[in-house]
């Protein structure tokens, strides 16, 4: 019993210590982010690796999610004679929830894991130590551009996911099933609010981008410099990021969409 309590206490203490270390890391990263903006080509390179190279999985997933929404939505709506509202259902589902959340989960598994593995391997092969020895701060030169590259990529990817999903819903609802095209688009236009729906969706995707990329760069920088350590850090990035996205989504949804919206 005593041993179990000791073990629990040690685990809690280690968790709090790591949380504090992560917070200090984040603060240091923000303070030393100047290089990422002064030499913006470093950040552009990371936008390419984290964002552009994630496009295929984001666009294809968005298309299929939208098509499934179209099928499922039509099946439910036509029972109540409201199949013209299909465009609203697809658009609100994507813009408010599925766009930011699913794009965030895909971003975590595609780009987040790659960022962690790259930084972790740089640490394991002493590239970060070498940089430090050359009087170049690895957090400013390596970590900050990757962080901001991820943060800037994520909202764009979520927007593309939603756009592709709406197109998928259109393909299934209008082209395949035959829902009236005018009703599909006009009801969507009337019901989707820029501030309450689109802006809140963008805010969500920015928050998810910060969370996922911060977890990815921290896990990579803090990885044990061995093959096993980097592997463990990569796994932790995907698991922690996914849980963080779902938890943050609940909190943000509770804050944004209560009160009749």
């Amino acid at each position: 019993m005593r041993a179990a309590l000791t073990h629990l206490g040690a685990a809690v203490t280690a968790g709090i210590w790591r949380l504090g270390y992560g917070a200090r890391f984040f603060a240091y990263l923000l303070v030393h982010s100047g290089t990422a903006f002064r030499r913006f080509r470093l950040t552009l390179r990371e936008i390419y690796f984290a964002g552009v190279l994630s496009l295929i999985i984001i666009l294809v997933s968005g298309l299929f999610v939208g098509m499934v929404l179209g099928l499922q939505g039509y099946d439910t709506l036509q029972r109540y004679g409201s199949s013209e509202a299909l465009g609203v259902l697809v658009a609100l589902s994507l813009v408010r929830e599925l766009g930011p959340v699913v794009a965030g989960l895909l971003f975590a598994s595609r780009a987040g894991s790659a960022i962690t593995a790259e930084i972790g391997l740089m640490k394991a092969t002493e590239q970060l130590s070498a940089m430090e020895m050359m009087a170049v701060d690895p957090i400013a030169r390596v970590v900050a551009p990757r962080f901001w590259g991820g943060v800037l990529s994520m909202p764009l990817l979520a927007a593309l996911f939603s756009a592709m999903g709406i197109f998928g819903g259109y393909l299934v609802g209008v082209v395949l099933i035959g829902v009236d095209e005018g009703a599909f688009w006009s009801q969507m236009q009337a019901a989707v609010d820029v501030r309450n729906d689109i802006l809140n969706g963008v805010i969500k995707s920015v928050v998810f981008g910060v969370a996922v990329t911060l977890i990815a760069v921290f896990e990579g920088y803090d990885a044990v410099p061995t093959a096993e350590g980097v592997s463990g850090a990569t796994t932790r990035t995907v698991v922690t990021s996914s849980l963080a996205i779902l938890a943050l989504d609940f909190v943000l949804t509770a804050l944004m969409f209560t009160g009749g919206n």
Binding site: T125, E126, E132, M133, M134, A135, V136
Partner: protein, 249 residues
């Protein structure tokens, strides 16, 4: 880890710190590089006490140093050219034309000018070490630190690196500290040697001095004898007892 270390490395000399794996020599190198701070005592490097330096002063000190890592530690996402140019681009305002000439000069010094466009993954171990050496001397450092520079090299690459270490040091007028356990390659090229064991300096002197020092550890180390002050067997109970012979006897 280290106990009672009192080390003096004269300017312009090539000094080796030797000892078996785990004796503390890499820790000592990290202290000289100010990557670690001593918990007791102090390290004075290029006239500055490392423990007294803030981040900016530490980085200013490190710009006067170069370090060659055991396996090169080349930046794997950059070409050979960009690896050598890295510090020049980070720390100077030189135009790209001047950087190009300087990089080619450094690569020529290590015989790899033709490898400038290659990626690190395309290099052999010996070539990677030579590129890392060119990168370490990119800004003409006053102090060059070598962490196990000969490990894992074939005899030709090893001879090339050993010759380059001496030649570059003489050409640049720099001070060099080589941490290694390779006796045959190191003793002919250094001016002074410190031998370490269990975190202490057990012998020191010129290569000729240490060869005839009479210190049993040094003699075992230099001759490569398998048994001596450093025993072949890890401490254990009697072999007979382990095999159950003592109980049946």
């Amino acid at each position: 880890m280290l106990h009672g270390i009192d080390l003096d490395i004269p300017r312009g000399k090539v000094v080796a710190v030797m000892g078996q794996s785990g004796c503390g020599k890499t820790t000592l190198l990290r202290i000289i590089a100010a990557a670690l701070l001593p918990t007791r005592g102090r390290a004075r490097v290029l006239g500055q006490v490392t423990g007294d330096l803030d981040r900016d002063a530490l980085y200013a000190l490190r710009r006067r140093m170069g370090m060659l890592y055991q396996f090169g530690a080349l930046f794997t996402d950059m070409t050979v050219f960009d690896n050598v140019a890295f510090q020049m681009r980070e720390h100077t305002n030189l135009p790209e034309d001047a950087i190009r000439d300087l990089v080619l000069l450094k690569l020529e010094a290590v015989g790899l000018r033709g490898a400038a466009p290659l990626m690190p993954a395309e290099l052999s171990g010996g070539m990677a070490r030579r590129v890392a050496l060119a990168r370490a001397i990119a800004l003409d450092p006053e102090l060059i630190l070598y962490d196990e520079p000969f490990t894992g090299l074939d005899p030709i690459a090893l001879g090339v690196i050993a010759r380059l270490v001496r030649q570059l040091n003489d050409a640049l007028g720099a001070t060099a500290v080589i941490v290694t356990h390779d006796v045959a390659e190191t003793l002919p090229l250094v001016d002074y040697v410190y031998f370490m064991a269990d975190g202490r300096v057990v012998a020191q002197g010129t290569p000729a001095d240490v060869r005839r020092s009479g210190v049993p550890f040094v003699e075992q180390f230099v001759s490569g004898a398998i048994d001596g002050p450093v025993p072949f067997h890890y401490p254990a109970q009697g072999y007979g007892a382990d095999l159950g012979l003592a109980a049946s006897a």
